[in-house]
């Protein structure tokens, strides 16, 4: 049984329907990447999974439980955490406070877990009292990921983790993502930088206009000439 299973999900904003029946699955410990052109519904799918956008029809199960109508708070509690693409830290809170908020569903201030995050992202440990709003793009992304890891989730959803980062920082972020995965956390990625992401993915999906277009193992998608031409800008 898959850890996360979204089947035939229809969702959108107001009158507009963005997803017309998308199905995606993530197995325990797997890295899965979703790629596709702008506006194909990648981010909307993530928001539908975490409960920010209502699932109109279709169903999302996590650990075998139907979460399609659950509140984001309950979904987070069950071990599914999410890093949005932009505005993914609390700017007026300090680094430490941002991390504490990641573990809000469990009372206490979690100094041990915060130390673990500082080990994973040493940059954050330099000045834990610094306001998140004053961090650089890369540090901010690290903090956003660390915040989402505070609850030690079974599955982490990352929306464009490399957006707006310099190549060097991007390499570091991908490196961290891989070490998070080797610690046993399953990952569902949406990524513009598709080559890099597919290289480290077990499987990948290609979405076009709110529908599934292709699904294959990561390396196989990379080698597929049609995928290369249309979606990887080869």
């Amino acid at each position: 049984m898959a850890l996360l299973e979204a089947s035939e999900v229809v969702a959108g904003y107001g009158e507009t329907e963005i997803l017309h029946g998308v199905s995606v699955a993530v197995n325990e410990g797997e890295v899965v990447t979703i790629i596709g052109p702008n506006g194909c519904g990648k981010s909307t799918l993530m928001k539908a999974v975490v409960g920010l956008v209502r699932v109109r029809t279709g169903r999302v199960t996590f650990k075998g439980v139907d979460i399609s109508a659950q509140s984001p708070e309950r979904i987070v509690r069950s071990g599914l955490c999410y890093v949005p693409q932009s505005a993914n830290v609390f700017p007026s809170l300090s680094i430490r406070e941002n991390l504490e908020m990641g573990a809000f569903v469990r009372s206490g201030s979690h100094p041990d877990r915060i130390e673990e995050m500082f080990e994973l992202f040493p940059d954050l440990a330099l000045r834990p009292g610094r306001k998140a709003g004053s961090l650089s793009g890369g540090q901010r992304q690290m903090l956003a990921i660390a915040r989402a890891l505070m609850l030690d989730p079974a599955l982490l959803l990352l929306d464009e983790p490399s957006a707006g980062l310099s190549p060097a920082i991007m390499g570091m972020v991908f490196d961290r993502i891989q070490s998070i995965n080797s610690a046993g956390v399953a990952l569902l990625l949406v990524e513009q930088n598709a080559r890099e992401a597919l290289r480290m993915s077990h499987r990948g999906y290609i979405l076009v206009s709110g529908r599934n277009r292709l699904e294959d193992r990561g390396p196989a998608l990379l080698d597929n000439p049609e995928v290369g031409r249309l979606y990887l800008g080869a």
Binding site: V50, L52, Y82
Partner: protein
């Protein structure tokens, strides 16, 4: 290692909101040393500013979390003042608790007992109003103007309720005349004013500690920063909203009681008339920013009092209003750069 140390030391002296607040408040106080400004008026201004601050911090917190200007805030103050009146005139005397002229103060200890009751009643009332009215509107995703208009309706309804229950006439807490203290520089200060200042200092410190040290306070700041991210972080935003109302309305109720003590009277319109200085203070500091509300309150309070040296005191709200207009024209985000009005 050494450069790191130097850096932290430099950060320790960084231009923090707390430091800005201290500097501006000190500057307002120093204005009293100017030869053409009476120090006594500056002192009165700080007392008025204290009451404004308690109301303005609530408005700014509610705006930060719920994204609308609560026009009923003045009437939450009125409610607080009248609930305390009910306690000292009706409820407490029945159990034999009466009195006035506690030590140097004009009021008696029943007012001290009535204050927490007023805070609790208004806080619970605000949470109930949210559940019955504002939450339904939020669920329908109405915009901020609709919420503000609804709060205008709540304001008028609350004032009507006060008039029905307590009549429209002037009333006051049982009081006894007391001597004012004479201080150097021709400053005369009533003991009641010192009580008001002390209560304000305690409550402002409590709000500061709550926002910076407690899990719920941090969650409130996080929700004000980014409500969607708060949701997906697993923050229980419904209880954040309840806490925000409880704190905002509780502070308003306290401000109402203190206003009734300082004016030595209660009127159903007292809170509504106080809205202009409240919003002027909030705007001046930058809406959504509690430091801003505090600084704005003292600036408005001192300006309004000092203006009476040249203007008829009935123009005090006009002075507050003029400052608000100038601020909106020159720097709409306020001193501390809060949100822009939407």
């Amino acid at each position: 290692m050494l450069p790191m140390k130097n850096m932290t030391r430099r950060i320790g002296l960084a231009w923090t909101p707390a430091l800005t607040t201290a500097v501006i408040v000190a500057a307002a106080a120093a204005a009293g040393l100017l030869p053409f400004v009476k120090m006594g008026l500056v002192v009165n201004g700080f007392i008025l500013g204290s009451i404004i601050a308690l109301g303005a911090i609530g408005i700014t917190l509610i705006y930060g979390i719920l994204n609308f200007a609560n026009v009923a805030h003045g009437d939450y103050m009125t409610m607080g003042a009248y609930v305390a009146l009910f306690m000292v005139e009706e409820a407490l005397p029945r159990v034999g608790i009466e009195g006035q002229g506690l030590g140097p103060f004009t009021f008696g200890y029943p007012v001290l007992l009535a204050l927490p009751v007023a805070v609790a009643v208004v806080a619970i009332g605000a949470i109930a109003l949210d559940a019955v009215i504002y939450r339904r509107l939020r669920d329908r995703r109405v915009n901020a103007v609709v919420l503000a208009m609804m709060s205008l309706g709540v304001a008028i309804a609350l004032r009507g309720l006060v008039q029905i229950i307590w009549s429209g006439g002037t009333q006051h807490y049982p009081r006894e005349s007391r001597q004012v203290y004479h201080l150097p520089m021709d400053v005369r200060i009533a003991p009641d004013s010192i009580f008001i200042a002390v209560v304000t200092v305690i409550l402002v410190a409590a709000v500061y500690l709550l926002l910076t040290r407690t899990r719920m306070g941090k969650a409130m700041r996080a929700t004000a920063d980014n409500p969607d991210l708060a949701l997906v972080s697993g923050i229980d935003t419904q209880s954040v909203i309840r806490w925000t109302w409880a704190i905002g309305a509780g502070l308003a109720a306290t401000a109402g009681v203190l206003l009734a003590v300082s004016q030595a009277q209660l009127l159903p319109i007292m809170g509504w008339k106080f809205l202009i200085p409240l919003f002027a203070a909030v705007t001046l500091g930058g809406i959504g920013n509690p430091y801003g509300a505090l600084v704005g309150a003292f600036i408005i309070g001192v300006s309004a009092e000092v203006s009476t040296q040249w203007l008829n005191p009935s123009y005090k709200p006009a002075v507050a209003f003029a400052i608000m207009i100038v601020m909106l024209l020159v720097r709409p985000r306020g001193i501390f750069g809060g949100a822009e009005y939407r």
